[in-house]
C-alpha cells in the first residue's frame, strides 16, 4: 500500500471514532505530536508534585496532610500512566526524562509559580485542576487509544482533587478574617495563570488545526478557556470571593462571560523559562534524578545478580 492509502485508512478510522492503537500504522507527525503532548502531560504531573509537595510538611491538620499527600501521590501515578502511554509510541521513559531535564521537553507553565500560603493548595485544586480537567475530559476521547484510556483513569481522580480543593477553600472562606484574606489572595494569584493554562489564543496557536483533524484535540484553546471562565464565575460565588478581573461580565448575546485580556507577555516569559520558579523546579527534578542514580544502578545490578543465581528459598519474603 502506498503511504497515501495508509493515510486515508488512518484518517477514516479517526473520522469513524475508531481508536488508533500502538502497533497500527500512523503518520510520523501524528506519532510525534502524540509523543510530545503525552510526555509533556506526564512531565506536568511530575513537576506539578513540587509546588504542592512544598506544603506537605506544613499542612494545618492531619486530615489535610493526608489529603494533600494522597493527592500529590496521585499525580505521581498519573505521571506513570502517561509515561507508559508515551512509551507505546516508541520513546523510552529515560529519554523523556532526559528531555525534560535538558529543557527540550516542556511541562505546564502553571507549576512555575510559587505556593506561598496554605490557601494555594485549595486554589490549585480548584483552579489549576479545574482547568486541567476540562482539557482532560476532552482527552478521554482523544484518538490515540492508550492516551485516551490513561485519561479516563486520570479524570476520575482529578475531579476528586478538584472537589477537595474547592472544599478546602470553602472552609477557609468560612473561617477567620485571616483565612478569608488568605483565600482571596490565593485566588488572585492563581486566576490569571490558570487562564493561561489553555495556551495561546486560537489565532496564535500553531498545530491546532492538524490536532483537531486527527482528533487529538477536540476543542480549541479559546473554547476550553471560555468554558472554564463560565464555570468559575459561578463557583466563586459559593465561596463569597471574587475573581481578580474587572472586565468579567455576562454577555447575553454570546451566552458567555466576557473577560479581560491575559498578560501574554507574562505567558510567553514563563514559557521561555523566566517564570518565578522555572529554575527551581527543573533543578529539583534534576537533583532527584541525579541523587537517585546510585539507587537505580544498585537495583539493576542486584536484579542482574539474581538472574545469574537461582533464588534460594530463603528470600526477602521469608524474612518478613
Amino acid at each position: 500500500m502506498s503511504v497515501h492509502d495508509l493515510e486515508q485508512i488512518f484518517q477514516k478510522k479517526i473520522d469513524e471514532e475508531v481508536k488508533i492503537e500502538p502497533k497500527e500504522w500512523m503518520p510520523d507527525a501524528y506519532r510525534k505530536t502524540n509523543i510530545r503532548q503525552i510526555s509533556q502531560h506526564a512531565h506536568s504531573e511530575i513537576v506539578g508534585m513540587l509546588p504542592e509537595g512544598n506544603w506537605i510538611s506544613r499542612a494545618p491538620s492531619l486530615k489535610r496532610k493526608a489529603i494533600l499527600m494522597a493527592k500529590v501521590q496521585d499525580e505521581a501515578g498519573h505521571g506513570l500512566y502517561l509515561y507508559c502511554a508515551a512509551e507505546t509510541l516508541g520513546m523510552s521513559r529515560e529519554q523523556m526524562i532526559d528531555d525534560l531535564h535538558s529543557g527540550k521537553a516542556k511541562y505546564s507553565s502553571i507549576f512555575n509559580y510559587p505556593t506561598l500560603t496554605w490557601a494555594d493548595m485549595g486554589a490549585i485544586g480548584w483552579l489549576v485542576d479545574g482547568a486541567a480537567i476540562l482539557n482532560q475530559v476532552m482527552l478521554c476521547r482523544t484518538s490515540y487509544g492508550p492516551y485516551a484510556r490513561a485519561m479516563v483513569r486520570i479524570c476520575k481522580e482529578e475531579s476528586f482533587h478538584q472537589r477537595q480543593g474547592f472544599e478546602s477553600l470553602l472552609v477557609l472562606s468560612k473561617g477567620t478574617d485571616e483565612q478569608k484574606a488568605m483565600c482571596q489572595d490565593a485566588i488572585n494569584r492563581w486566576w490569571w495563570p490558570s487562564l493561561m493554562m489553555f495556551g495561546p489564543k486560537d489565532s496564535e496557536s500553531t498545530n491546532s488545526d492538524q490536532s483537531m483533524k486527527w482528533k487529538i484535540k477536540r476543542k480549541t484553546n479559546d473554547e476550553l478557556r471560555q468554558q472554564f471562565v463560565d464555570m468559575c464565575v459561578e463557583q466563586v460565588k459559593l465561596l463569597g470571593m471574587t475573581l481578580p478581573d474587572p472586565h468579567l461580565k455576562w454577555n447575553e448575546e454570546r451566552g458567555h462571560y466576557d473577560f479581560g485580556e491575559i498578560d501574554w507577555n507574562e505567558f510567553w516569559n514563563v514559557v521561555k523559562g523566566n517564570g518565578p520558579c522555572n529554575k527551581q523546579r527543573l533543578e529539583a527534578r534534576r537533583k532527584a534524578h541525579e541523587e537517585g542514580r546510585w539507587v537505580r544502578e544498585a537495583a539493576a545490578a542486584h536484579a542482574e545478580k539474581r538472574k545469574q543465581q537461582p533464588q534460594t528459598p530463603k528470600g526477602a519474603l521469608a524474612a518478613a
Binding site: 499527600m69 544502578e297 544498585a298
Partner: protein, 245 residues
C-alpha cells in the same frame, strides 16, 4: 493504668506521625517514580495509624483534646516518639534502612498488641498489621537490593547502619508506661534480632556488635532534630490559633 495507656498511645501516635513526616520528604523527590509512590504510600499508612492512635488517646483523655491538638500543640519535650524516626532522612539507603528497622519492630509489636487487653489498641494494631507487613516486605527487599547491589550502594548501606544502629537499642528499652502496659519487649528483641540478621545476611551487610545505644525519645528527651520537625509541622496551627482548616 489510664495514665500509662495515654502515654503509651501517644508514644505510638508520635512515632508513626514523625516517621510519616520524615518519609514524606521524599514525596516528589524519590529516585524512581514507582518508589516515590511506594514511600509516600508508607507515609500515608503511618499517618493513618497515627491518627487512629491520637484519636484514641483523645477519647481516653476526654478533656477536649483532638487528634490535631495532640499532634500540633504539644512541645518537643512532650513528644514521646522513638529517636530513630526523628533523625534526618539522609539518602535513600538511610531512609530505607530506617524503615526496615522500624517496620520489623512494628510488625512484631503489633502482633503482640493485637492480643492486648485494651480492645481499642488491639483493634488499631490489627488493622495496621496488613500495612506493616507490606512496609516490612518492601523495605527488606530494598535493604537486600542495596546491600547486595553495587559497591557504592553497599558502602552507603554501611554508612546508614553506622548512622542508625545506635538508635535501635531504644526500641527495646521499656519506658514505665510500656512496663505498666505489659508490653514484652524482651521477646520482641530476640525475634527482631534474628529477623534483622537474616535480612542483613542476605544483603551481605554486617550486624554491628557492642554499639553503645542512645535513648531518651520515649521520655521526651530528643535529638536536636525534633525541634525543627515540629516548627514546620506545627507552623500553621501555631500561627492561627483556633482556626479550623
Amino acid at each position: 493504668m489510664s495514665a500509662s495507656l495515654i502515654d503509651y498511645t501517644l508514644h505510638l501516635a508520635d512515632t508513626t506521625l514523625i516517621l510519616s513526616q520524615r518519609n514524606s520528604e521524599w514525596c516528589g523527590h524519590g529516585p524512581i517514580l514507582e518508589q516515590d509512590i511506594a514511600i509516600t504510600n508508607i507515609s500515608l499508612d503511618l499517618l493513618g495509624q497515627s491518627r487512629n492512635f491520637y484519636q484514641y488517646a483523645a477519647t481516653i483523655m476526654n478533656n477536649g483534646s483532638t487528634e490535631d491538638s495532640l499532634a500540633y500543640l504539644r512541645t518537643e519535650r512532650e513528644f514521646k516518639n522513638l529517636l530513630l524516626v526523628e533523625l534526618e532522612s539522609g539518602d535513600w539507603g538511610q531512609s530505607i534502612l530506617r524503615q526496615f528497622l522500624y517496620s520489623q519492630f512494628q510488625h512484631l509489636l503489633f502482633q503482640q498488641l493485637q492480643q492486648t487487653k485494651d480492645e481499642q489498641l488491639a483493634a488499631i494494631a490489627a488493622k495496621a498489621i496488613k500495612e506493616t507487613t507490606y512496609h516490612l516486605r518492601w523495605s527488606s527487599e530494598w535493604v537486600i537490593r542495596l546491600g547486595d547491589g553495587t559497591d557504592e550502594s553497599h558502602k552507603r548501606m554501611l554508612h546508614a547502619i553506622d548512622e542508625l544502629w545506635r538508635y535501635t537499642g531504644e526500641l527495646f528499652e521499656a519506658a514505665d508506661y510500656e512496663t505498666a502496659m505489659g508490653i514484652d519487649l524482651a521477646s520482641i528483641k530476640q525475634t527482631w534480632t534474628e529477623k534483622v540478621t537474616a535480612v542483613f545476611d542476605e544483603a551481605k551487610l554486617p550486624v554491628p556488635e557492642n554499639v553503645f545505644m542512645q535513648s531518651g525519645g520515649k521520655k521526651g528527651v530528643h535529638t536536636e532534630q525534633l525541634g525543627y520537625i515540629l516548627t514546620e509541622l506545627q507552623y500553621l496551627q501555631r500561627t492561627y490559633p483556633g482556626a479550623k482548616w
